[in-house]
Symmetry: D2
Subunit: 346 residues, 4 copies
């Protein structure tokens, strides 16, 4: 039984970790960390957990937690994990960091896009970028996993095989992404109030969103070249879900069958990636509550472009589900343990 | 392994049965009946089931199905189950009918409220009203279970202990109910279009909704008297969830502790009924995707009334979940098998 | 041209006042008060006003404002208007207070339900309860109008004719109300975040909501007796709209025609009250953006009750629209000036 | 007083025409055409119109209507207007066609993308493409106006100045569009049911949507070259609104000030186009219910692209509002008559 501690258990990603780990047969939660709700019953914060979770919220003492847990999930704002982690802790416990602290290898890129000073750059090289389908073997051996962002998971996995195969011109890649509101977190801010979000759509962070360098770095590894691209997130009035629509010029003539074969080669054996059938576009409703990534594409012979589409549940494959998938890999469990969830519809 | 057939597998309740049975460790689906989609792949109707369900949709041949299945779920409009069932079928297979055909003992009441002639009244007496928490022992022995309606499940369970204990004046009972849109089914009708439902709330079926006599009959058994009440359903712009707010005069002075003790006595051991803590009102979000019934109440000394509130997921405890709970009872399985689902939030 | 000042112009009711007054041909706004956004451009807070409103936000200096304006609207939390108003101000300017400060004649009732000390009880008697259809003549002569609450406007107008005519037993009156989220205001609070409200419904303030005594007082005047009732508000995932469903025992036998005739007698000449046709239930979508109150009813001979239903846009007839209607009356303008708005659908 | 007839008055665009024309001081509706609801009271279809519109629905007899009206709006599916119009009718009445029948000059392109045979190609050349801000003078003289599509209005106006000025490489132009559900019309189809659309986002018509050639043709005129582009529509769970996000390579170095100056030069005097301030992204909520087009942009020096964003209310500027704007121009009325509507928020 893997003993798990969560720092940031009352955010939406933290709450989703609790949901998933509660139903996980090989793990148990030993620490519900939440600085905002210390000593409050967890089930008083998330009443769906009434009679399921009996524990109180704890502070974010990673030292103490490292004594009690086998794995720590940090579902906290940028900077916290980097400020708490040290060699002593890492020698006792594995860490899966859901923040951006260890995702970007070049610390100057991190500091530039996030606008904060990195507190423990010495662990950046060691950290494994926890995109399970890409870095599975490295994850298995890792002490410290940087769990990918929600936009990035969906953006990267959707384009990865074509980038890797050199089929698309990376200079032309444009990612237009759409997210449900839970991605904005549970902070009490006017722009996230119901009436501000409902019945509207907007782009934000245009040409400046922090997930951009993470996508560029990972797709750069795949393509074997430096990638600079446009990534534009949009806020959609729904709780969960990310859809990405990606555009790129094809480097040579191709057809549906060839592209489908590439996707199948990369993802055919993957439990959580579903390459859709011809002509089917992903929709976020079909993955809700699950760890699936649904991927579809359309070649446009008129423009010589291919349009790639991917859909995930931002809180599952985009956060907590992927974190559990990483945990499973790190502890030698069945990779899909606790994640074989049928998507909830409607 | 219980072999289950579903007639009406492509409605919302049918789809939810598929979701629940797919994850059920002691049951498997052998028949996806859907007259509208015969020979179409089930996963092409509900794409959340892509790579999970590989079967095609079948017709609604209950005779043939009775040869292949141990249990048949009929998630179809009123009248269909009654028109198909016969002694031969019932001798071979158990039936859980999610329609209203066998819920009401007085056939004339059924025919009056539903406006159709009952095709097999000879089975009405035998049929067990499948409200598990109330009729558990009868369900275990039943061949034919009438699975309660969504509004009724929530309405009855919320008031049942106080009706049974004679604490409330049944002549004063008023049930004001609110439902998500999935309760209206998947038929292509203008009033259920997105733009017609979104950003609005309305009452409908005022003083005439068909769930009224079902509630009255069952609460009548509890109270030991004929019950006539007002039940007013409302349509709320959300996918899932039913909330009932019930008002009744207290027959004598009482207090929070006494009422709480009554609820705890009736429901304290129930897996799926959660009596909330003092001052907490049920919210449908806290039960979404799960089989829970959340119940709260407030005594108003100013008016001498008690206000009861109950929340369920209409597709789970209000339909498919309760049907699976009934199946578990009928086949001697653990009652909560396949239903221990943590509610999904947000 | 009536010069209007708004204190609290950046709340939702304040924003609606700006929308309505901007389109009003006989009024102009001279002061956009907003303590939270002083010196910020108003159109930077509400970008729908870009190129329509050029002004900056001002503080809430009622003294200074009374020099510049003919009428002051206070769309602020309880207590503010009462703390600012004085005889000198009232001698120079008319005040329409959208808060509860002057709605309740018995100051001890106010202080008990609102939990604050009233700062200027000397003006309570003078204040006119600005429910235009009931107190039209008094409003015309008023210096200080207490603009009714959103729930109360809808609750009272729906029941008023029957209460006044003595047709219903006031002791049995129960009001089950449902509101969109804008009624909760624009404060940054976790419970009002998109993901907390979306896909859920709940009751709140059960047996304790502050609009209760206001409804009781006004319906008490109508009925000529002390009224004590149950009022239960619910939060519905939509931006705008209030629906009330009211239940009462009929004091004697009656029928559709008689009740319809009563409503028509009271409201037949009213511009903003639409008594719906037989069998039609009000829906909030049909009044969105407008000053209408839609009213319907259903007699239930089985229970001897009548079910009354009313729908308004909480920000228009429930706040800003009624405030403008009061202004029109107070300044001798056409009562419907600036309010003849066709409801927006969908 | 301009006498207006509407064919297709019970669709969403038709309903919006009724809303706008009802409030228009220089026009009146003389014919509410709706084949589906002949002889039914219009206000029974759209109950927001209760006590506002007293007329019954009529058939779509354009001959007879041409005798009674000065202008006919056809808010009907593709093909109907082209099948009804003839020289005799056009000699008596002006026509504003909200369908695609006369938008595309090359009849073979129309027939290819729409898959139907054009019934009156002889009027295509005469028809004026009713994008008021671009073709104002032609519209004034037109007998037959092809009212632009909703996606196209937003897509074209957002890019028009930069295409015209040759600042962007048209071969790189990609339009990623997002629409509310009212754009899908009021037909009773399963994919448009509340539960199918709610809590989800999807792309559709990828590389094949019918608005593509219309956008290409119009931007081709602006750019003075043949334009072939990618246009990808998405369905967003909200009633109204279209947001377009457009990506293009800049043909030369430029900066914010220069681009802003270009937009201001083209649109600075336009009543209905609002070029937003630096760094502000359009959001559909800020234009709801109004005829505004909100436009913003962001230059990305990293990629050499410019990201353009535009937002409209699809039923107003994207359909009925623009149609009324065209009517105003055609009849010599003030262009903004009946359209000076403050956007409704929230």
């Amino acid at each position: 039984m893997v003993k798990a501690g969560i720092i940031g258990a009352t955010g939406y990603a933290g709450g989703e970790l609790v949901r998933l780990l509660t139903a996980h047969r090989e793990a148990e939660i030993v620490w519900y960390g939440s600085r905002s709700y210390i000593d409050k019953k967890y089930a008083d914060v998330y009443r769906n957990m009434f009679r399921i979770v009996d524990a109180d919220c704890m502070d974010d003492n990673m030292e103490e937690l490292s004594e009690q847990a086998d794995v720590i999930f940090t579902a906290t704002p940028q900077g916290l994990c980097a400020s708490l982690v040290n060699e002593d802790i890492l020698s006792k416990v594995k860490i899966i960091d859901l923040s951006a602290d260890f995702r970007i290898k070049d610390v100057s890129v991190y500091e530039q896009w996030y606008g904060i000073r990195h507190q423990s750059p010495q662990f950046i090289q060691e950290a494994v970028y926890g995109l399970c389908e890409v870095n599975r073997e490295e994850v298995k051996k890792a002490r410290l996993v940087a769990n990918p962002g929600c936009y990035t998971t969906c953006s990267i996995l959707t384009a990865y095989p074509l980038a890797k195969e050199g089929l698309i011109d990376m200079e032309t890649l444009i990612i237009d992404a759409k997210s449900g509101v839970s991605g904005a977190g549970r902070g009490a801010k006017v722009p996230n109030l119901y009436c501000e979000v409902n019945e509207s759509i907007k782009a934000y962070g245009v040409a400046s969103h922090r997930h951009t360098p993470e996508i560029e770095e990972q797709l750069g590894y795949a393509a074997g070249e430096k990638v600079v691209l446009n990534f534009t997130p949009h806020l959609v009035p729904m709780n969960r879900g990310i859809l990405v629509t990606e555009y790129a010029k094809l480097k040579r003539e191709t057809d549906y069958e060839e592209v489908k074969a590439i996707y199948d080669r990369y993802y055919g054996e993957e439990t959580f990636i579903r390459v859709l059938e011809k002509g089917v576009c992903p929709e976020t409703r079909w993955v809700e509550g699950s760890n699936y990534v649904d991927i579809g594409f359309q070649i446009d012979p008129r423009t010589g472009r291919i349009i790639l589409m991917g859909a995930i549940d931002n809180l599952v494959k985009g956060a907590a589900g992927q974190a559990v998938q990483n945990m499973n890999l790190m502890f030698g469990l069945k990779e899909s343990e606790g994640l074989e969830i049928v998507p909830l519809f409607p």
